[in-house]
């Protein structure tokens, strides 16, 4: 299976033992990326959230009952199920950093990529985006708004990546070797507990490099070989067991 490798590989390490499920990451993401509020948000699988916090349960009765919260951005797969299926190359993985792109003016809205993604990281604009009066003035100027009829997804706040590179160039530094913290996504920035750590998975100077190599780190649905760039950490075995499908006789990693 062909996995796209890059010199710089932006990724996340999310410590599920630190996440309290507060949802600050979701709110920060919505505001940063100009996600329009949905008039009727009662159907939770028809609302726009580039990042969703799932609740995990060990399904045991009190006093053994335990829960965990799992923030799920786009996993920026190394072998993305969504890219090869797009009939019009509206999504691609070819930029240094390994972020899976989404080109809104190219997307025809066939939703084949959504069918391909097992993480439900892709969202469709079912209706025209409507901004409550005044809210349009608070839009992030660097992020394009999307029309109805196209698919969108988390871009690891790609505009922040561009800004960080511009800043590095202006300061005479190498834009291809950003320091830890030069480029951080809005969700990682908003997390009050520091559960989300963002950086270059290939750079030993970045914290995420070491976290992703922890024995408690694993990725969502690893056995499907999507080779994602988001790592989840937990010291709780039942939590790690829910990160992939295991047969009864199989042991969990870590």
């Amino acid at each position: 299976m062909e996995i796209k490798e890059f010199k710089v590989k932006w990724g996340m390490a999310i410590d599920l033992d630190k996440c309290t499920g507060c949802g600050a990451c979701m709110v920060a993401c919505q505001a940063e990326n100009n996600l329009a509020p949905i008039a009727d948000a009662s159907n939770k699988i028809k609302v726009m959230n580039w990042l969703v916090v799932y609740e995990l349960s060990n399904k045991k009765p009190f006093p053994e009952h335990d829960v965990a919260y799992l923030p799920r951005p786009c996993q920026q797969c190394g072998h993305p199920p969504c890219v090869s299926v797009c009939p019009v190359v509206a999504t691609d993985k070819n930029e240094e950093g390994g972020i899976v792109s989404q080109i809104y003016p190219r997307c025809i809205g066939c939703r084949y990529c959504m069918a391909a993604c097992p993480y439900h990281a892709r969202y469709f604009n079912w209706l025209d985006p409507v901004w409550p009066e005044g809210m349009e003035k608070a839009l992030t100027p660097d992020v394009s708004v999307r029309p109805r009829g196209v698919v969108e997804k988390c871009s690891f706040c790609h505009h922040r990546f561009m800004k960080a590179k511009d800043k590095a160039i202006a300061e005479g530094r190498d834009p291809e070797a950003l320091a830890d913290g030069d480029y951080v996504t809005s969700c990682a920035e908003a997390c009050p507990n520091g559960a989300i750590v963002f950086g270059d998975l290939n750079n030993p100077d970045h914290q995420v490099y070491h976290l992703s190599r922890s024995k408690y780190a694993s990725r969502l649905l690893e056995r499907l070989h999507a080779n994602t760039q988001v790592y989840y950490l937990s010291r709780r075995e039942w939590v790690r067991r829910q990160l992939d499908n295991y047969l009864d006789n199989e042991k969990v990693k870590g």
Partner: protein, 420 residues
């Protein structure tokens, strides 16, 4: 010339020697179909003007009734290319008695599917991007290419039939065009068979390549997942009997014999044979899926089913009642020649293929892949049903007009001679 007022007002347009109902009766029927079409047009207008938010589709079910409908009608419309292949390339001559109908049904199925896609695609005005910005790695690109090209082939195959209309045929240029197109028909039949095989396969391949969806993922041969071959064979195993069912419905509605029993039985035998081949591969595929793909993904067989809505009964209905049973009936001469059994088998065959397309489209998306995710259910709403009904109404209109004015059934005159 003296006018015969006992004949319908438009009788001059009828095929030679054909009897048709009065124009008033015909208009009444068209009025009924028109009401359904009007409802569908309203649904289509709402979808195009407001957006796909008016449907019951959501971010889990990006594909729903429309894609199921498209896949089903494209499979059932396979009677056109397969009968064309058998008639023109393999020279099975008796099939000339039903080939016109297979072409019309194929044309309706494919053009109808494309009309549905206009609604289903979020940005229909960008549909041409499929050609302009083609991703050669995507099965959907192949589908876009082959379906559009094959629709053109079907139009070319339909044109001579339209030009053979009694009044049009008197115009020398149209007569010659029709004649020359007939001469070239084996070429178009060959091109049609090639294009059809590939897009039927690519429609299956579309699902088979989804390696992160274990419900539909299939390994395969070279670049083609097994579903590529399964979709082709299942289409030719059901398309021919679908055409027979359409012919029979038309016979019941018009009260006239249109296709002889021998031809229907032959079509049933052809479909039955292909269904037999399909079932062998389908059972092998299902075994491989259970024993290889699911354990590899850390899943058990039972995890692929949920409640009644996505229960195992769908699988057994598809493979057993709507697979093995119609196959036995269609391949056993004594059973096949019993009309009640024959038509039941044809219907079950078509239902089985529709279930297959449904579970590959909807159940695959309903099933959670992340262990902490849950099953979701989907039921289409009025906007999706309405626009699908529009396509059925459109098909009824095309078939009704074709039957009334075009020489669709070569055997009609002979089969109804005693009645006259």
């Amino acid at each position: 010339m003296e006018k015969n007022y006992s004949l319908p007002a438009d009788h001059d347009l009828f095929p030679d020697g054909a009897k048709r109902c009065s124009l008033m009766q015909f208009m009444a029927w068209m009025g009924i179909v028109g009401v359904v079409a009007a409802w569908g047009l309203y649904a289509a207008y709402k979808v195009l003007s407001t957006g796909l938010g008016v449907t019951a589709l959501d971010d889990y079910f990006g594909f729903g009734l429309w894609i199921t409908f498209d896949l089903a009608v494209i499979a059932l419309g396979a009677g056109a290319f397969f009968t064309g292949l058998l008639r023109y390339i393999l020279n099975i001559d008796p099939l000339k008695n039903i080939i016109n109908l297979t072409v019309i049904v194929g044309f309706i199925c494919y053009s109808g599917a494309m009309l549905i896609l206009v609604l289903d695609v979020g940005q229909p005005v960008r549909a041409w991007f499929g050609y302009w910005h083609a991703n050669v790695h995507s099965m959907l690109t192949e589908v876009i290419f082959c379906i559009t090209c094959y629709l053109i082939v079907l139009i070319i195959e339909f044109i001579p039939l339209v030009f053979e209309q009694k009044q049009l045929d008197r115009i020398p240029v149209l007569h010659h065009i029709a004649h020359n197109l007939h001469v070239m028909m084996p070429l178009f039949a060959g091109v049609g068979a090639f294009l059809s095989t590939f897009h039927q396969g690519s429609l299956g391949g579309m699902y088979g390549v989804l390696f992160a969806r274990p419900y539909v993922f299939r390994d395969g041969f070279f670049v083609w997942p097994w579903t590529f071959f399964l979709f082709v064979i299942s289409a030719v195993g059901s398309g021919p009997v679908f055409t027979v069912l359409i012919a029979t419905i038309m016979e019941k509605m018009t009260g006239r014999k249109l296709v002889s029993w021998e031809i229907k039985s032959l079509m049933g035998k052809i479909a039955g044979s292909m269904l037999f081949v399909y079932l062998i591969f389908k059972f092998l595929d299902t075994y491989g899926w259970i024993e290889h793909i699911l354990p590899h993904a850390g899943l058990t067989f039972d995890q692929n089913f949920y409640g009644n809505i996505y229960g195992q009964w769908l699988l057994w209905a598809e493979l057993g009642v709507c697979g093995v049973l119609p196959c036995i009936i269609l391949l056993t001469p004594s059973l096949r020649n019993n009309p009640a059994l024959f038509y039941s088998a044809a219907l079950l065959d078509c239902i089985g293929i529709t279930i297959n397309r449904y579970v590959f489209t909807v159940q695959a998306l309903a099933m959670p892949v992340m262990p902490f995710d849950s099953w979701e259910t989907y039921a289409p709403n009025w906007a999706e049903w309405g626009s699908s009904a529009l396509i059925i109404a459109y098909g009824a209109i095309v078939l009704s007009l074709s039957y009334r004015y075009l020489p669709v059934f070569p055997q009609e005159k002979k089969l109804n001679a005693t009645k006259a």
